[in-house]
Symmetry: C2
Subunit: 357 residues, 2 copies
């Protein structure tokens, strides 16, 4: 069994980027005809084959699902993987995990490696760099070659596939509404400068909930943290920023934070400044991770149901794979037999703990 | 490219376990001659090939490292993966992650899948079930077929390979010594009933440190938590047990816990019972995860340096892979040229925070 040449090797030999090779092989119009011809000729010479192997016949199924996530040290992604695994194991599938490390190129390399006969389909969440570049050709090429993809959490309209998303907007609305009902008058938002849609949607939910309650949003009460800062290792910087924010706005009596690290850090700062929680200040975070549960006081939070997201994603993918099997067996080949793509929205839920009244 | 038959398929066809197939194919004496012959004949008929493809020639290298870990929702394993990735990326390798879910059979299936031409070598930590069964034939078979393995954290003497371990014993000794120096007179241990060597070594370290300080160990001061209990989702049970333990032993003034969840839960219980930390009771945990950092008070802990473990493991594996390349190039084939296996011990370190004086 001779291993085929990889995208990376072609890119190196021809001194172009991996992304260029990837685009040329999928006939993207972004690449000049000359370059496309050169790359395709080289690929042909070295027997490069796109990823449509192992899919046409049922007995070539690998019964393995490829998961591709942006990072591993992240409670949300871990719980999604746990959910995928649970369903996959029950339905006779194995899983394998690739990591993009938020890099566009690593995402392409990992997809190529996994699609190379190792897996039947992908469950993935898009890397930040890919979202910034808005370049999704590798997803579309994979789908066109016959390998199904289910996207979760970080999804885009530009790719036609099954999607499972968290209702970030309504989660934020619920959280802020709860603070309003608990008689908070000056509700602060601690958020990111993120271009990832998640942070933006949560911010929009905050603004919407205030408006619905007849409260005029005050831009002084919105703290945007630079998320290129590695806060995990720069907690002091984060805490200093929050302390400054609280001191400049002593009227704050409610805080909604778009992730649990910001929420827990803000509670710590508030306590140090002498505020009583929840009497003087109430807090709600987003993501129900270990920090929320074990914080002092424990944190009221918007749960994203990561495990459920994983379970639904796995069911969508396996349903589609097995529908394809059934078609093959019955000699149905027209695409119209396939079901339309589904966008599943997982409702969030407020988990009440000690940080709210 | 025809996909070869898998262990799982052979097992299903012949109605035997995956482990039996795996053992028969590696000529284990545990399997009867009849069964071995039957399985080997079947495997041959369907062109089953063991995992020694892609290793003999340099241009068949995949430049990918397979990581196999027991579970993903675990800060320690995540940080190890981060360390492996960091070195792998720097040295031009990609990583792919398989999960055994603490299951012996899943460990075998994942190893077969990954070793099937996708990777150059393994970095792995053994599943609990495998440790209980003490059955390591799949590791030895993989190594014998020419694919190198580096084991970390959960390792065994029965497999000859490079290993990277945490100095659990001395980590525990240091922690308890610190409590003694801080004038604790009645030091409790909160540990698991674990057969995984890690828990045992930390318990031994506790006993050793007491003895060195001339303190007679009191079995009433040792609380063993049933680790088959899913404590993440049964925090109340854990807290009730600890509360009972503290009430029965009101003289406890220092606590060493073998993981951070036990330590943080114990602090919570102690505070609820009215103890002041660190004035009345001091606490040291093991593993420097997010909980330790964000607990109130923050937790003094024994850091295992997960990232460093990952980095060293990746360096050991890549060094060995590249030494093999060099040998191939220079037409040296005798095994004596290879370096001996290395067992690297990563020293632990006490990170002092607010839970000790």
């Amino acid at each position: 069994m001779k291993r085929k040449i990889t995208l990376k090797q072609i890119a190196k030999e021809l001194d172009v980027s991996i992304s260029t090779v990837s685009k040329a092989l999928s006939n993207s119009k972004e690449i000049s005809e000359d370059t496309t011809q050169k790359i395709q000729a080289f690929a042909k010479l070295y027997h490069y084959k796109p990823n449509n192997i192992a899919l046409s016949l049922k007995n070539r199924k690998t019964k393995t699902i490829g998961i591709l996530i942006p990072e591993i040290v992240h409670h949300f992604f871990s719980t999604v993987i746990r959910g995928i695994e649970r369903v996959a194991n029950r339905r006779g599938y194995n899983v394998i995990v690739g990591l993009s490390n938020e890099s566009f190129t690593k995402e392409i390399i990992n997809m190529e490696m996994l699609a190379n006969g190792s897996i039947d389909g992908f469950i993935l969440s898009i890397s930040k760099e890919t979202l910034l570049k808005q370049d999704y050709h590798h997803f579309n090429a994979t789908i066109n070659q016959g390998m199904p993809i289910v996207m979760f959490d970080r999804v885009v309209n530009e790719v036609d596939c099954d999607k499972v998303i968290v209702d970030d907007f309504n989660g934020a609305v619920k959280a802020v509404k709860k603070l309003v009902e608990n008689e908070c008058k000056n509700i602060a938002l601690i958020t990111t400068m993120d271009y990832v849609s998640v942070g933006r949607l949560r911010t929009q939910g905050y603004l919407e909930a205030l408006q619905n309650s007849g409260i005029v949003a005050d831009s002084n009460l919105i703290l945007k943290i630079d998320d290129s800062l590695d806060v995990e290792n720069n907690l002091e910087v984060l805490e200093t920023e929050i302390a400054h924010f609280f001191k400049s706005n002593p009227n704050i009596d409610g805080v909604f934070a778009v992730n649990e690290l910001y929420a827990v850090s803000a509670m710590k700062v508030a306590r140090k400044l002498g505020f009583k929680i929840p009497d003087d200040m109430q807090f709600i975070g987003f993501t129900d991770g270990v920090l929320s549960k074990h914080a002092t006081p424990s944190l009221t939070t918007v749960s994203q149901h990561g495990q459920k997201i994983g379970e639904q994603s796995a069911n969508l993918l396996i349903d589609r794979l097995e529908a394809e099997d059934a078609e093959t067996e019955q000699y149905f080949t027209n695409n119209e037999k396939k079901r339309d793509f589904i966008k599943m929205v997982i409702e969030t839920e407020i988990i009440e703990r000690e940080s709210t009244k």
